[in-house]
């Protein structure tokens, strides 16, 4: 759905985005993370045809962002929530959406229907006639989401959609994104919120002017931490250690009453480990897979990069 090829952007002599390439499939949720000034917003702006690329290209649903005749078609099928909500403070919530719907050339009945649907869905229908200037940040953010969706776009670009939201509002937004994912929308999210990425993104891209990594969350974590099984014992005895050494589980470490195994093929190795421990008279309390948070993984990754 989104194919990016060697895309770069320079502002005067400063390179903001350096030769990035990646693909996002239809229905995928893509989380774009990276430090401040990494070029995430700049990338969204290029993909939404707001600014031109310096070199390279990208195709959105087959349309070329560099081709003038394609840009209108691209704009029709995408929805954007910019890093600033960009609503008209003097207009009511309803008028903001209505204005946007008209720009997309929507029929009156469809427009009214969608405005009602989204405002109800996001719980702000009863505030539809209040001017946006009087809205709280969270309400504005929700309205910005409604605006981005009003014309039924197939692809959504969100630039930090839950920045500034309280936990319950960000949860509403997150659940809403999960619903959209079920509708098979393709979603591109810039964010600093790893809980969000962990919960909704199929794939992540790590950006720091260059694109450092694109992978699924699982592959990313495994590449940083390896695949590890933790066995919590009642007590780590010599007989257990000897038995394990005999079967030569090389990548094993002991930490208190825990044994941590670095594995290649957990499906085969885990049962063997457990058998060995049990046969040596060890008492197993828990067996778990080491699952560090995405945030910790990301921080470790950045440390290793530097």
């Amino acid at each position: 759905m989104i194919e990016v090829e060697n895309l770069s952007k320079k502002f005067d002599n400063m390179t903001a985005v350096d030769n990035i390439s990646f693909n996002i499939e239809e229905g995928e949720v893509f989380g774009f993370v990276g430090p401040n000034g990494a070029g995430k917003t700049t990338t969204i702006r290029m993909l939404t045809c707001l600014i031109s690329s310096t070199s390279g290209t990208a195709k959105i649903a087959g349309y070329d962002i560099n081709k003038k005749s394609d840009t209108l078609k691209i704009r029709k099928m995408i929805g954007l929530i910019p890093d600033n909500v960009g609503l008209y403070n003097e207009l009511s919530a309803y008028k903001n959406l209505d204005f946007c719907g008209k720009l997309y050339g929507m029929e009156n009945s469809k427009r009214e229907e969608n405005i009602k649907y989204f405002l109800k869905m996001l719980g702000i229908w009863d505030k539809k006639d209040i001017i946006v200037g009087k809205f709280s940040k969270g309400m504005k953010q929700k309205l910005a989401i409604a605006r981005a969706l009003i014309h039924d776009p197939e692809i959504l670009f969100l630039d930090e959609p839950t920045a500034n939201l309280d936990p319950s509002s960000s949860k509403t937004v997150r659940n809403f994104l999960i619903d959209l994912k079920q509708e098979n929308k393709t979603i591109f999210i810039n964010t600093h919120n790893f809980a969000e990425v962990q919960q909704i993104c199929d794939k992540i891209g790590i950006m720091n002017t260059k694109l450092l990594r694109v992978s699924t969350q699982k592959d990313f974590k495994e590449s940083i931490w390896g695949i590890k099984t933790i066995v919590q014992l009642d007590k780590v005895t010599d007989s257990v250690l000897n038995a394990l050494n005999n079967v030569s589980f090389k990548n094993m470490s002991v930490s208190g009453d825990k044994l941590i195994f670095d594995l290649n093929d957990p499906q085969k190795e885990n049962p063997a480990i457990i058998n060995t421990i049990v046969n040596a008279g060890g008492r197993i309390l828990y067996v778990t897979k080491l699952d560090p948070s995405l945030e910790d993984t990301y921080l470790k990754f950045l440390r290793e990069e530097n």
């Binding site: 707001l50 600033n84 960009g86 003097e90 008028k95 204005f99 720009l103 997309y104 605006r147």
Partner: protein
């Protein structure tokens, strides 16, 4: 180009203008001065029993001629708000992400400043002519307005002056990111009309048919040239990135 989309943008701007006190105030100053204060000055002059009829007519014409220039001062506050406002309020990005072309946006912004300006100018002129007629009938024994001079100013000159002012201001506002500077520069750009006004006033240029035709051709030329210039500057990427 889809004119309906330009309309949608202009109507949205009208609604915002209605809610902005500073803009409404700046708009209502014009009918107040041009439509009410000018006739009141004439009323003051008429009190003088020695006033000759031709002196009265010169005085009225002096004020009529101000209609060549003053309408040009209405668009700056509108145009600068309608464009710089989109930048400062950060509403430009979603607007530009929607399927409108640069031309549709530009045209919408021109309508948004042009129509209220022309409306206010005509409203002022109507008040002006009405009050002058009422105040001077006893002395002149005929209704001074409507007359040929004022008709030409209203129908042929004012629309061009306003259009020109709108274009200049759209041009300035696309380049400048702070509201005050934009509207001040805009007002400054109207000073050539001050020259025109004084030229008429001092009879350097008589308001005869030939001079009028030259003037209008010149205005058309300016309007077209400025439109081309504005169009080349009014580029979404430039407008979007030159301010952040």
């Amino acid at each position: 180009m889809n004119i309906r989309k330009s309309w949608v943008i202009a109507i949205k701007d009208f609604e915002i203008f209605k809610k902005k006190k500073e803009i409404l105030m700046s708009l209502f100053i014009f009918p107040l001065i041009m439509g009410i204060v000018f006739p009141l000055i004439i009323l003051g002059i008429i009190e003088d029993p020695n006033l000759k009829v031709h002196e009265l007519i010169t005085a009225i014409n002096t004020f009529s001629l101000l209609y060549i220039m003053l309408p040009g001062f209405i668009p700056p506050s509108l145009a600068s708000y309608s464009i710089v406002g989109e930048k400062t309020e950060k509403t430009l990005e979603p607007l530009l992400a929607s399927p409108i072309t640069d031309d549709e946006l530009l045209f919408g912004k021109i309508i948004a400043s042009f129509l209220p300006s022309i409306f206010i100018s005509y409203l002022s002129a109507l008040l002006f002519m009405l009050l002058i007629n009422i105040f001077t009938y006893d002395k002149l024994h005929y209704f001074f307005f409507p007359n040929w001079n004022m008709g030409v100013i209203l129908l042929l000159i004012i629309p061009f002056v306003i259009l020109l002012s709108v274009e200049v201001n759209v041009l300035i506002s696309s380049k400048i990111s702070d509201l005050r500077t934009a509207s001040q520069l805009g007002a400054l750009s109207m000073t050539p009309f001050l020259g025109l006004y004084f030229a008429f006033q001092t009879y350097l240029i008589g308001l005869n048919l030939f001079n009028l035709l030259v003037l209008i051709l010149f205005l058309v030329f300016l309007v077209v040239t400025l439109f081309i210039l504005t169009k080349s500057v009014f580029n979404r990427e430039k407008i979007l990135t030159k301010w952040d």
